[in-house]
Amino acid sequence: MELWYTDKHTKDVHFTMKVENQIASVESEYQRIDILETVEFGKVLVLDGELMISQKDEFIYHEMITHVPMAVHPNVKNVLVIGAGDGGTIRELTKYDTIENIDMVEIDKMVVRMCREYFQETACKLDDPRVNMYFEEGLRFVRMKKDEYDLIIVDCADPYGPAEGFFTREFYGNCFKALHDDGILINQHESPYYSEHSRTVQKAHQHIQLVFPYSTVYQCHIPSYPSGHWLFGFASKKYDPIKDLREDYWNSLNMKTRYYNTDLHKGSFYLPTYVKELLEIGKNNE
């Protein structure tokens, strides 16, 4: 007998992986949570049928969502992470001794519980003393904050479910308010490739642009995600992601990474023409 798990990348494009066994399956207050052992991708975390992370390529996502801003901002002490229940983003952030506090706001306690039990690879640093976990609505949490954070990372699911609110202009505006004068906002920005998603990507970028003085996107390649081509948003009040990159400093940290390096950092902001056109990058930022 063969078991296969299909992630619907679009309604017409499916991505299917062979499953060795189902490790866990629970229904939380918010969603169905599955953890599967797959042949090629190792363990995968699936929320409401949608693939969130795979053991094999999660490092790409988590390194790119954290080290890019950390190599730019010279003084990150207080970080807000929204979502991130699997713990991967926290794992990367805790590599920096200079960070003093990490507030993590995840709506679904059960995701954290499941990852602590079955996804130690990512959840391993959730007990770091600098991490404060809040299980509540991220929109509400950030609304209450003013001039508190150096860095906000939005590590959420696709905007077609509970995470919809994290792709809105009001949310980005609330993040702006919650950041210090030199703060940076990083958000997972979906894939621009399939037409079903490209408008969402475009809209989200337009919203961020209306809120932050500097905003652009950068890219990476995540094999298990739709089209494999993934974007992150880089929005900032002060720092430029390339001009303000502290290359020597970051390399002097001798941090062990498997995807991120400072050459790739610069390269990741050079985008394909169709993406530049979609987001009108280069047009508005000149």
Binding site: R143, T168, R169
Partner: protein
């Protein structure tokens, strides 16, 4: 075969439609799209299932004008669910239900007592049937600039001054959620032989919760127009008219048939049927949820500062006898923005569509269909609007309610010989048409009323602030038709 007794679990119209769909009839009747085959684009747009259900009256589906089977059954179940003696399904909007109430209770020349902040549909009914309005000043909350309810004392006075009035119309509640003491008004009205008609366009949910103001039927009113499509979950334009034994139901049906379509949409009718079942079985749950969401939103919005989301504290047992806590009305003037400006910002910048914005307030409708996410989005967007757009509140309009001077009946004024003048030159003339600020659809001027400078200023300001001003023949609302008092052609 003996007929099974129907319960609130049943949906007779819905079931009959399902049966007809399965019967796969060959249709040589209207509608001519024949299940969408004759209009492919429409079929693709609305969905094949939906278009196939768009059928016409036939024996198994009953007839809205003369209900004897499934529509009759469905109406009886609705009457039972709402605690009425009879229920009539309406497919021309609650406007038609309000007009049916007024035309049942009055004929030409009869007086009807009503608060000025009635919906335009009520005054339209007077234009049609020639009855005369006796307006009760609903009072205004000066800080918020919103019209309130009728005080019992004012109703008593109106009755004493007009003992020949046939009926009293009560908003239960107003658009803003404000209720008059309808129980007491019913008592006094019945003492004086007058009927009580309730416009419950915004009160459908009252029938399904004991935590909300009293419903008209429970208060003993004789007729009530219930906008099932607003907070009851049926399709837009579908509505229910409820009556008690104190009015002749067969006469009511005749009145409805004067103006209602003879091709009642089964999509609308079945939506009423299903919505009635849903509210009857789950209405308490929905109402609790609506109260919970609105209460949470009020607390959070009031914490933002500048905004005032008003609630229970308005209750004074007089002009605000009770308040519908599911309504989320927010006063915006203290951040220096007119309600209509916040309304536009919410939609244009944040993709949030709310019910209306007037000069000083916005109103968000909360229903059983709402989720936490959207509530959080609304609060966050209001927080952003304040951060980005707050300004001094100087130069804002100071009041919303203007007492009308009725100098001629609405019917007479509307059908009189008239001429058109620029609005700013119309002071001192008798208006022969409506001027409304929409939403909320409360007349600034109605036919037969004296135009004053104060009213002209109000219209200009409302236009400046982007309210949708409507009602005049002139689509640009620059000119107004006034009664030519030199001509003595009087229609009644």
């Amino acid at each position: 075969m003996e007929k099974r007794k129907l319960t609130q679990q049943d949906t007779p119209i819905h079931r009959a439609l399902e049966e007809q769909r399965l019967n796969r009839l060959a249709h040589f009747d209207v509608p001519g799209h024949k299940g969408g085959r004759g209009n492919k684009e429409l079929k693709e747009f609305l969905g094949a299932d939906c278009v196939k259900l768009d059928m016409n009256s036939m024996k198994p589906l009953d007839n809205l004008c003369h209900p004897v089977s499934v529509i009759k059954d469905a109406q009886q179940l609705a009457a039972e669910a709402f605690g009425a003696d009879e229920a009539f399904f309406i497919v021309n909007g609650t406007t038609a239900a309000v007009q049916a109430m007024i035309m049942t209770a009055t004929v030409a020349g009869d007086k009807i007592i009503m608060p000025r902040n009635v919906h335009r549909s009520a005054i339209n009914a007077l234009v049609v049937n020639g009855a005369m309005p006796v307006y009760v000043n609903p009072g205004v909350n000066k800080k918020l600039g919103i019209p309130l309810g009728m005080s019992v004392a004012d109703v008593k006075q109106a009755i004493q001054e007009n003992p020949d009035a046939k009926a009293i119309l009560v908003n239960n509640p107003t658009y803003y959620g404000i209720c008059s003491d309808i129980k007491e008004i019913v008592r006094i009205a019945h003492e004086h032989g007058m009927l009580v008609l309730a416009d419950e366009a915004h009160g459908t949910h009252f029938y399904f919760s004991d935590k909300l103001p009293v419903s008209a039927m429970e208060a003993g009113a004789d007729m009530a127009a219930v906008s099932m499509h607003k907070t009851g979950g049926s399709l837009t334009q579908s509505s229910i008219l409820l009556t008690r034994k104190t009015v002749n139901a067969d006469y009511v049906r005749q009145i409805i048939n004067l103006t209602q379509t003879t091709s009642g949409s089964y999509l609308l009718l079945s939506s009423l049927d299903i919505a009635r079942k849903n509210m009857s079985l789950n209405g308490k749950f929905y109402s609790d949820r609506m109260i919970e969401l609105a209460t949470y939103a009020r607390e959070e919005i009031n914490k933002l500062g500048g905004y005032y989301a008003f609630g229970d504290e308005l209750i004074d047992k007089d002009m605000v006898y009770d308040f519908d806590r599911t309504k989320l009305s927010i006063h915006t003037r203290d951040i220096g923005l007119a309600g209509i400006e916040v309304y536009d910002l919410l939609r244009d910048d944040y993709g949030i569509q709310i019910e209306f914005g007037d000069i000083g307030n916005i109103l968000a409708i909360i229903s059983g269909g709402d989720r936490n996410l959207e509530i959080e989005r609304l609060i966050s967007a209001l927080s952003e609007i304040k951060r980005l757009h707050e300004r001094e509140k100087a130069g804002m309009f100071d009041h919303e309610y203007i007492n009308p001077k009725v100098v001629m009946g609405p019917h007479k004024a509307f059908f009189s010989k008239k001429f058109s003048v620029p609005i700013e030159e119309s002071s001192g003339m008798i208006c022969s048409e409506f001027v409304m600020c929409y939403p909320p659809g409360i007349p600034i001027l109605a036919p037969g009323e004296m135009i004053t400078t104060e009213i002209i200023h109000y219209i200009q300001y409302a236009k400046e602030k982007g309210c949708l001003v409507t009602g005049t023949q002139d689509m640009k609302i620059e000119n107004i038709n006034v009664v030519d008092t030199n001509v003595t052609v009087m229609p009644n």
